[in-house]
Assembly symmetry: C2
Homo-oligomer: 168 residues x 2
């Protein structure tokens, strides 16, 4: 069954900017800068950013917090008709959570060649063997989303290099 987007290019860019704001919150905490928002009827009903190191929790991904808050907002585990925006292509856990929540449309920014499962390594979101599948679109504000990550990892390498030099 073919699914289609219900949003304009302007709406997609607008909500991805909001996901980027979330990613910047993660960056401020020295976390890998990834952010997400869940949208329903044009309104943001859930926001989240990566908190893995801060919380020391394996599942503390941006999308999980955004879905959790969205479920609280609507008072239901069903997020039918909702859209999810995330700055990086989702991993298997987050792709799976989107299916469980029955998210209708998924938009991501940068592609993840190492672990992305919304089209790169596989496409869990459009696998018709599961009881739900979603419309998926990657590359929304791709450069801005990717740049955040590139800058973060470059700064991290610099820091490590300086630390090593200081220790000599």
């Amino acid at each position: 069954m073919e699914k289609t987007s219900t949003l304009t290019a302007e709406e997609k860019a607008f909500f991805m900017e909001e996901a980027i704001k979330e990613a910047r919150k993660a960056e401020g905490l020295a976390e890998v800068p990834i952010g997400a928002v869940v949208v329903l009827d044009g309104k943001i009903i859930g926001r989240g950013h990566n908190l893995r190191e801060t919380q020391q929790q394996a599942a503390a991904h941006a999308e999980m917090f955004a879905i959790e808050e969205a479920c609280r907002t609507v008072g239901s585990w069903r997020l039918e008709q909702a859209q999810l925006f995330v700055t990086l292509e989702p991993c298997p856990m987050c792709s799976g959570a989107m299916l469980l929540a029955r998210v209708e449309e998924v938009y991501f920014g940068a592609y993840d060649p190492k672990g992305g499962t919304a089209g790169t390594l596989m496409n869990l979101l459009e696998d018709e063997r599961f009881n739900h599948w979603s419309y998926v679109e990657g590359g929304i504000l791709e450069e801005a989303c990717g740049q955040l990550l590139t800058d973060f990892f470059r700064a991290l390498r610099e820091k490590k290099k300086q630390k090593k030099a200081g220790n000599l």
Copy 2:
């Protein structure tokens, strides 16, 4: 890379019984009876049962709670050397969470023909393209784990039938 089990048949049965105890807690709340435990060095460090309807949260699966508690117990998102036991074959979200937490060995009870991703529809846990993979073994106390689910859904159908008859 071939991974192997570090547990005896007795240990596997013992810990799956503990996962079944968790599943019964879910059953007591009229939730689909699925339970999980995380084990490290022969000790249970995390427990969980399905709470999707109670919490109205899409991600409220047994495994997620067990992993969350285990991370809290060890004070780290890394559950290296840990074993996870769950009464039903994990879904994509839970399989993904196990990979993120670097769980070493995964044991499940009943197979899930509709959504299992630890060997049935696919095997996310042994896909060497991800940066971690686990040893996986299904069918531990399979009959007991499956019976819990069969009984639950049979009772649910009976209830619906009676309700319908009452409404006529």
